[in-house]
């Protein structure tokens, strides 16, 4: 059950990502245009406005695919409906429940559909059930739940979280800590579940009008960029401590770090998990602390693309460079000289456990 939920949330994140990329990059590029070239280009401003429309749709997309992972194709529509309400509250006096609400919408829609598929109806009603009853009735139920109880409770909660985040990010003594934690989470499992939780947290506040989303967004950049950059640079500097293969992978790894593909770090981390991941987490945490401590924000996503839109380009670069510097230094000092090649690969044979199911 828990695993199923986790898988559903990851599915939502997975399908939502391309939308975030379109919206984020469009806002970044149009923002650059208005800032540096011409603030009054109508076409550019229209495009920027449209990017914000996409942004408002993101909770709906997320909810739709969370629902899809649970209740299959038929759950997409009610999920979308619920997620949309999460970002656009329908009645006065209720707040947008945002990403949290969208999560609830997706789960409710998914299970509603999964459950109603099991309800037995006479043969002749079967096709009507699929085309009419399921979408309409689940859609209505999700609508009611999202518009009233969820908007009232989770909407409040969401507002509370965002307000507190804003307070936190404005007080440097807490902001640096939050930045450090988020960045370290990203660096910890390099694209794995913990990384996605940190990123999900960023997206959770992504479309808040206060712009807080862009501040936490900037704070995870060191976590995304430092690991792959550092292992590559460390391998090139301290060739005696890395295997030939690791040295050969270094340039592509550095490139991956620059464009924000943290996963390139994985082969290095598998070889020497504690030293590599530890160094990366410390480096990323320091970078994240600097980034958020100075309140740098950006609307760009993934690696170097965040740079042009950073509110403080110098601090952005500095926090990455410091993070990489620390991590490289730690790895070079901590890593042992390479041993003659041993087949360490199969040693975790025994903790492998799984069941065969049908």
């Amino acid at each position: 059950m828990l695993k199923k939920l986790q898988q559903a949330l990851m599915t939502g994140v997975s399908y939502m990502l391309p939308f975030i990329v379109i919206a984020g990059m469009t806002i970044a590029v149009t923002g650059m245009w208005t800032q540096y070239i011409n603030p009054d280009t109508v076409a550019i401003n229209t495009l920027n406005g449209f990017a914000w429309t996409i942004m408002d749709l993101i909770p709906a997309i997320f909810a739709a695919y969370v629902a899809y992972a649970i209740g299959d194709k038929a759950a997409i529509a009610p999920g979308f409906v619920g997620g949309y309400i999460a970002s656009q509250p329908l009645i006065e006096g209720t707040a947008a429940s945002g990403f949290l609400g969208a999560m609830v919408a997706g789960v409710i829609a998914g299970y509603l559909v999964a459950y109603s598929k099991k309800i037995k109806v006479p043969e002749f009603l079967e096709s009507i059930k699929k085309t009419l009853f399921i979408p309409v009735i689940t859609g209505w139920i999700v609508y009611v739940l999202m518009t009233y109880p969820v908007a009232m409770t989770i909407g409040e909660l969401n507002e509370f979280i965002i307000n507190n985040l804003i307070t936190l990010s404005e007080a440097p003594q807490y902001a640096f800590l939050l930045g450090a934690i988020l960045s370290a989470m990203c660096a910890f499992d390099m694209g794995g579940p913990l990384n996605k939780i940190a990123i999900t947290f960023v997206f959770a506040v992504w479309n808040d009008p206060s712009g807080i989303g862009f501040v936490v967004n900037a704070a995870v950049f060191p976590g995304i960029m430092v690991p792959a950059l550092s292992v590559g640079i460390a391998a090139l500097i301290a060739k005696s401590k890395f295997s030939d293969e690791e040295i050969k992978m270094a340039p592509p790894s550095i490139l991956s770090g620059i464009v924000g593909i943290t996963e390139a770090t994985l082969p290095y981390a598998f070889q020497d998990p504690i030293r590599v991941i530890g160094s990366n987490m410390i480096g990323a945490a320091v970078g994240g602390a600097i980034m958020m401590g100075y309140g740098v924000s950006t609307s760009g996503v993934s690696g170097i693309f965040g740079l042009p839109m950073a509110s403080n380009i110098f601090m952005f670069i500095l926090s990455i460079v410091v993070g990489v510097g620390i991590s490289v230094l730690l790895q070079i000092t901590l890593k042992k000289r390479k041993q003659p090649t041993s087949s360490s690969e199969e040693k975790n044979d025994d903790d492998l456990d799984f069941e065969i199911t049908i």
Binding site: Q7, T11, S14, E345, L352, I356
Partner: protein, 106 residues
């Protein structure tokens, strides 16, 4: 063994394809047939056909997200593992799968 496998991770650009490669290499080394379908950022690639499902002994699901077209596999034996397992210890995974499969057939 005839193995079919699906790999899928949330971002769908790195882990998905690393797992595919690891599984293919391991199967080759251990002398099994394998076909790995990836459900990455661009959708399904190297799609498993109905014919292949029929021939296969086992389906390895190294997925962290809900997968598309899962109705194809209703009747086949499957193994569910985290995608990291496929990347890290594909050989051990396949060896163990073979053992377990033999146990179930006894």
């Amino acid at each position: 063994m005839n193995i079919i496998a699906i790999t899928a991770c949330p971002t769908g650009v790195a882990h998905t394809f690393m797992a595919k490669k690891a599984l293919e290499n391991a199967a080759l080394k251990l002398g099994h047939n394998i076909k790995v379908e990836t459900q990455g950022a661009t959708g399904i690639e190297n799609e498993i056909t109905e014919e292949e499902v029929k021939k296969a002994d086992i389906l390895i699901l190294a997925v962290e997200v809900g997968i598309a077209k899962k109705e194809r596999f209703e009747t086949i034996k499957k193994v569910n593992i985290p995608i990291a397992t496929a990347i890290k210890s594909a050989e051990a995974l396949i060896r163990k799968t073979e053992e377990k499969l033999k146990d179930t057939q006894k």
